[in-house]
């Protein structure tokens, strides 16, 4: 269990920056998600911490001690690979015991530790199996047990659940989080699955083109994305562009490029400056266009529009609404009767959900 510090590291492949002056500190026992599209640098960062990638300049420290010159096998890390990389010629027991046996730990000490790990990942009784005789979820757990048995200082997970189907993935997410809490190990994981990042992480960092776009707790990053990229990558977002147009009580007004205005609680730049606003589709709902909002209610935004498409997906319905520009609105399926295309609607949302972002 360690604090891991990454201090101003960069890495270029053929002059393309995979990591561009990245610094991050991973707290002791923290579950940290690295999120971003492929090629954004998240995997390069993970592999730099593991020691497979040698960064140019900067430093990586475990508990304050530089590990730059420490080869992978002396870094005392645990890693779970995307396709698990279980040793096909060894039993489950031997796979988990590998890290102990290369450290020349006596067989009599190895067995109880392996058994305890099997118990932790709920695989007791399968120790004689070969990896290929296990299901995907079971293989994933063997990989986790194998990585944890040596009591590493940090646990690195490279798309750990990517190879599993959706239901199993959700189940494993809960289990992974439980095991991580139980062991209390600093865990850094890479994913391109936003839901996974939100579910598992204490904090997340969003990467784009080798740089960190935003770092924070999942709800902070989701509710208040700082840039259009962050808003779009983590969840869905509707974007509005316009110009700052003064204040309206404690709210800021933005005159939209296509006419109309919306309100936000975020601070605005000087009047006339361009502004981009992001609004999550689930924060929007439909009001009755015939009935204007009651006076004195919390300020809300209203935009008149026409339903263009309704996509029914059971518990929720996704609408595409034309308000001059096209918006996406997520609605809970309360009435069992989706609105038909052509239906006139009043799209409304609370002013606090208008998030000002950098374009």
């Amino acid at each position: 269990m360690s604090v891991v510090e990454v201090d101003r590291i960069s890495k270029h492949y053929d002059k393309v920056a995979a990591l561009d002056d990245v610094s991050l500190t991973f707290g002791d026992g923290e579950f940290f998600g690295l999120l971003g599209p492929s090629g954004s640098g998240k995997t390069t960062l993970l592999r730099s911490i593991a020691g497979f990638v040698e960064p140019e300049g900067g430093d990586i420290r475990f508990d304050g001690r530089p590990v730059r010159d420490t080869p992978v096998h002396r870094r005392q890390i645990g890693m779970v690979f995307q396709n698990y990389a279980l040793f096909p010629h060894m039993s489950v027991f031997d796979n988990i015991a590998f890290g102990l046996s290369v450290r020349r730990i006596a067989a009599s000490d190895v067995k109880p530790q392996v058994m305890a790990m099997l118990d932790l990942v709920r695989l007791s009784g399968l120790e004689e199996r070969r990896p290929r005789q296990l299901s995907g979820g079971q293989q994933q757990r063997v990989a986790l047990a194998r990585a944890l048995v040596t009591r590493p200082r940090v646990l690195l997970l490279d798309e750990p659940l990517g190879a599993l189907d959706k239901r199993l993935r959700q189940q494993m997410q809960i289990e992974l989080k439980q095991i991580q809490r139980e062991v209390g190990i600093t865990t850094i994981f890479v994913t391109h699955d936003q839901e996974e990042a939100l579910t598992l992480s204490d904090r997340i960092a969003i990467f784009n083109e080798g740089r960190i776009v935003q770092v924070g707790a999942p709800h902070a990053v989701y509710e208040r994305p700082c840039s259009a990229f962050a808003a779009n990558f983590l969840g869905d977002a509707n974007f509005f562009s316009g110009r700052a147009a003064g204040e309206h009580g404690e709210y800021g007004r933005i005159a939209l490029a296509g006419g109309g205005a919306i309100l936000t609680r975020d601070p605005l730049p000087a009047a006339g400056q361009p502004v981009t606003v992001a609004v999550r589709p689930e924060k929007m709902s439909f009001g009755d266009p015939a009935r204007p909002p009651a006076a004195g209610a919390a300020p809300t935004n209203h935009l008149r529009g026409v339903v263009k498409q309704a996509v029914y997906s059971g518990s929720s319905i996704t609408y595409r609404v034309d308000v001059g520009a096209e918006l996406i609105v997520f609605a809970q399926n309360r009435t069992a009767e989706p609105l038909q295309p052509g239906h006139q609607v009043d799209v409304t949302w609370d002013a606090q959900h208008s998030v000002v972002v950098t374009p």
Binding site: G78, Q82, H89
Partner: protein, 260 residues
Amino acid sequence: MRAIGDWFVRGYLGLVLVFLYLPIAVMMAMAFNRSPLYELPWTFDTVWFVKLSENDVLLRASLNSVLIAIANTVIATALGTLAALALARYEIRGKALLRLLLFPPITIPWLIIGNAMLVLFFWTGIGRGLHAILLGHVALSLPYVIVIVGARLQSFGTALEEAAATLGANPWQTFWRISVPVMAPGVVAAALFAFAVSFDQFVISNFLAPPGVSTLPVVIYAAIRKGFTPEINAISTIIILVSMGLMLLFARFYRFGGER
């Protein structure tokens, strides 16, 4: 309909097997036939095996063939495996070109390669003889070994070795405990191939064999040109039985190329 299709498939499979094994079966039957002229009726006799045991030329050639095949297998497999490892795991200048250059030796007719080798060996003073034959066989088997072992290595990528490193295994431990066992089925398959390339080899051996010293295929060819000797059927029968036995033994331990 289904039954007809089923019978068709079985019949087809049967024909393929007959096509493959009938000549071998006839030859083996003739090895035990008393008549030296392949005459029927077939009468069981082991006379040709007795004669074979007295045929020094054939026996010495067999011994040569086996020894060269074994030496070739050991040398080509060792060198080829190391080359495959280097190609798969290290950044080498001109790697793509090296990989590409592996294939022409497989496709160029042996007759041409044999001729080229004879010229080269003559010119460099290596000359002809068992040493030259061995050298030729190694050169011929190497591309096969590299391609077969390389395919095996490629199918596993570097993830297993990386995993071992994260678990604290030093490069030496990783090589012996992970790379070697994972490569093993590919190496065994490659070794069998190398053995077969050498043991089967007529063309190149014929070019490089000086008068009086030779390998089995060359001697068999020379003997057949002079007229049939059923002793050849006898030695062929022995070879077939031994090689089939070996194949079964290996198949017991490895599924070639695939997962163990």
